[in-house]
């Protein structure tokens, strides 16, 4: 396998992993601090993508629409938290799963009613539609490089926010031991709403950035939500560092598996079998990885608690 192929696949896995990180970060914080399993996280991703597509049509500019979409989705997330999800914190996980699953169904139908069943197109901004020449004579889609850039930037900002600011300290305290944090006088309600809104904004960013590559369609959140859960289990609930490492790992295994396994199998099996087997096995490998981590370190790689 040539270096160029390897390099391109490495960039692809970085791109995918960073987008997964945006979703996993919000999810792990909500699970870690509020102890709530939020299946509707994928719906926020979908809503973010749809709002972005709509705003791009209204404003005509990708870069103008992006911050607007983030704010709008954060507001949707905050509204959801204040109205519905707040009642779920005290309940057990199964109730939370059922309730947030209902939110998924409602969100899907609402989106279908507003925008119709067809998937809508979201195009990359002008200027990022072509390739960029990389050292080594390789061309890579400039938009994917932009995604990597945005992902790294957000990771750095989140790192700064969580480790160096007071708000971040409250978040870490809440994730580490919620009862103690409440006992120490942290205004837990406001913190929860803020964390949820931040998670929603991150989802929207992922949805808006991935929209031009994938289609913006009803139910787009479900698949990526499952991967996000795998990431936070691997990385450790409540830990942003864990979410980062976990998402890069999952992105690597998924992309490399999808790319390399068919090549390996093509030497042994006919093309239709190899093409089926490769992606199937690579998705199994993600869960094998998760099982291995759970076996060796049940709290995940970087647990926030204890």
């Amino acid at each position: 396998m040539s270096t160029i192929l390897f390099l391109e696949q490495a960039l692809n896995s970085l791109q995918f992993g960073l987008m997964l990180f945006l979703l996993a970060a919000g999810l792990t914080l909500v699970f870690g601090i509020m102890d709530m399993i939020n299946l509707a996280h994928g719906s926020l991703y979908m809503i973010g993508a749809y709002l972005m597509a709509e705003l791009v049509t209204q404003t005509g500019s990708f870069w103008v629409a992006l911050p607007l979409a983030l704010v709008a989705t954060a507001l949707v997330g905050a509204a959801l938290e204040v109205s519905l999800l707040r009642t779920l914190y005290e309940r057990d996980h199964l109730t939370q799963v059922l309730a947030t699953f209902a939110i998924i169904l409602i969100a899907n139908e609402a989106v279908r009613m507003i925008w119709g069943p067809q998937s809508i197109m979201l195009n990359a901004p002008a200027g990022l539609t072509g390739p960029v020449q990389l050292p080594g004579g390789m061309q890579y889609a400039s938009y994917r490089l932009a995604i990597i850039g945005v992902g790294v930037l957000v990771a750095l900002v989140l790192y700064f926010l969580v480790t160096k600011t007071r708000v971040g300290m409250l978040v870490r305290a809440g994730a580490s031991n919620r009862e103690m944090a409440v006992a120490m006088g942290v205004n837990i309600r406001r913190l929860f709403t803020a964390v949820f809104a931040l998670g929603a904004a991150l989802c929207a960013l992922a949805g808006a950035m991935l929209g031009p590559i994938l289609a913006v369609q009803v139910g787009m959140g479900e698949n990526i939500l499952i991967l996000a859960f795998v990431v936070i289990v691997i990385g450790g609930i409540g830990s942003i560092r864990g979410a980062f490492v976990g998402s890069l790992l999952v992105g690597l295994v998924d992309t490399m598996g999808r790319a390399l396994l068919p090549i390996a199998f093509a030497k042994m099996f006919p093309p239709q079998v190899a093409s089926n087997l490769g992606p199937a096995l690579s998705s199994i490998m993600i869960y094998v990885l998760m099982a291995a981590v759970l076996f060796l370190r049940p709290q995940g790689l970087f647990p926030a608690r204890g």
């Binding site: 396998m1 040539s2 160029i4 192929l5 391109e8 696949q9 692809n12 791109q15 995918f16 279908r112 069943p117 067809q118 998937s119 197109m121 195009n123 990359a124 539609t129 072509g130 390739p131 390789m138 061309q139 890579y140 889609a141 400039s142 938009y143 994917r144 031009p212 590559i213 994938l214 289609a215 369609q217 009803v218 992309t255 999808r258 790319a259 068919p262 090549i263 093509a266 093309p271 239709q272 093409s275 089926n276 992606p279």
Partner: protein, 388 residues
């Protein structure tokens, strides 16, 4: 009293001879990324019915729509509902071959004729041929075989193939290989409805093929072409596609990057015949957009049903008579694609053209016909069909 029952029974028996209305079960994919194709076919179909005054073959026509969402299991269940609960007397509409193959046994049991506006799997037209299945579109391998002929005429040393991993995808590579007859450097099958082609495109770049043939209909094609162009591959690798991957639904979504792509199709928007001009003008007026080949297929399906029902005088339950009427229908109608014949296995035998994506006189992006790739191409698998 008994006389009344006998009279009623006799009345029923007489009524069973000729239908007095058409109830068409329309099972199609109308949502999701691939739904755009279903919507195109449906719009062409509805246009023909509207232009005929809501009657086909002189009979008042009711169309009942069902959305299979590209789920074979759902398609099967919906077919059953259309046949048993809604009691349709004709069926049509299926876009995707995996849904078609799943629903076909149910449709066969229902003993109604199915007129295919799109998917025409070789499994149903070859050895498994059946009088109840008649296609108004093309045999699944048709466009691909024509594309293979075109690639051969361009003298490409070898071809790299990419198609989704489902029955029509396999029909595509089989048909293309037969038309091309040359060396195949790689055959890659992607997941149906896969959206991110970064891995496959990286492999294509590394393989440096002489040319690439990609069958990726609907939303898959949109994403593939966008990513193909964004990754800079459009400058490195010549791309040949079948008409489905380069028509209006994709042009609307991708835009200018598609200029210069060559594709093969059984129809082009600028075909020089009266029926086509009428169809294109009516479609643009009704739907405010340029029709794609899918719309033409839906339109021709309705015309076919109309001609057949008219010549069979409404006797659609009379299987041999209606089948004969369907076989003869192409000669009794004027389709936008021009003249075509029906082979004995129920598939069209027609010409395939070479088109290129270019701007028309109004500056809009369309597929212009630039030549004929192969004339009178039929279904290769018709030879396996033992029907008379």
């Amino acid at each position: 009293m008994r006389m009344i029952w006998a009279a009623a029974a006799a009345a029923f028996a007489v009524n069973a001879q000729a239908a007095n209305e058409l109830k068409i079960g329309y099972l199609s994919t109308l949502s999701g990324p691939a739904g755009a194709i279903g919507v195109e076919v449906r719009d062409g179909f509805n246009l023909a019915i509207k232009m005929a005054g809501n009657k086909l073959g002189g009979l008042p026509t009711e169309v009942i729509f069902a959305d299979d969402t590209l789920n074979p299991e759902m398609g099967k269940q919906l077919a059953e509902r259309l046949l048993k609960r809604d009691r349709v007397n004709l069926m049509t509409g299926v876009i995707f071959s995996n849904v078609m193959l799943a629903a076909w046994p149910t449709i066969q049991e229902g003993k109604v004729f199915y007129i295919a506006p799109n998917s025409t799997p070789t499994r149903i037209t070859g050895e498994g041929c059946n009088p109840y299945f008649v296609s108004a579109s093309w045999p699944n391998e048709g466009h691909h075989e024509a594309a293979g002929h075109y690639a051969k005429s361009k003298g490409y040393k070898s071809m790299y193939l990419i198609a989704p991993n489902y029955p029509a995808g396999k029909d595509a590579t089989t048909g293309f290989k037969r038309g091309f007859g040359g060396a195949i450097s790689a055959e890659v099958y992607t997941k149906l409805n896969q959206l991110d082609y970064s891995a496959e495109l990286a492999q294509i770049r590394a393989a440096k093929p002489a040319a690439l043939y990609a069958f990726l209909p609907g939303g898959m094609g949109i994403n593939f072409i966008k990513q193909f162009v964004a990754g800079g591959l459009s400058a490195e690798v010549p791309l040949v596609v079948p008409g489905f991957a380069a028509d209006q639904d994709i042009i609307r979504a991708v835009g200018e990057p598609m200029l210069g792509i060559f594709d093969t199709s059984h129809w082009a928007v600028d075909l020089d015949n009266d029926a086509n001009r009428k169809f294109v003008a009516a479609f643009e007026k009704e739907y405010k957009r340029i029709p794609s080949l899918f719309a033409e297929q839906g339109y021709t399906t309705a015309l076919l049903i109309d001609a057949a029902v008219r010549s069979a005088k409404g006797r659609i339950e009379d299987v041999p008579a209606f089948h004969k009427a369907l076989m003869a229908a192409p000669g009794r109608m004027k389709s936008p694609r021009g003249d075509f014949k029906m082979a004995h296995n129920g598939t069209p035998v027609q010409d395939y053209y070479l088109r290129v994506v270019a701007k028309d006189s109004q500056g809009r992006l369309v597929n212009k016909k630039i030549g004929t790739v192969v004339s009178g191409l039929g279904d290769f698998w018709a030879k396996d069909c033992k029907m008379k």
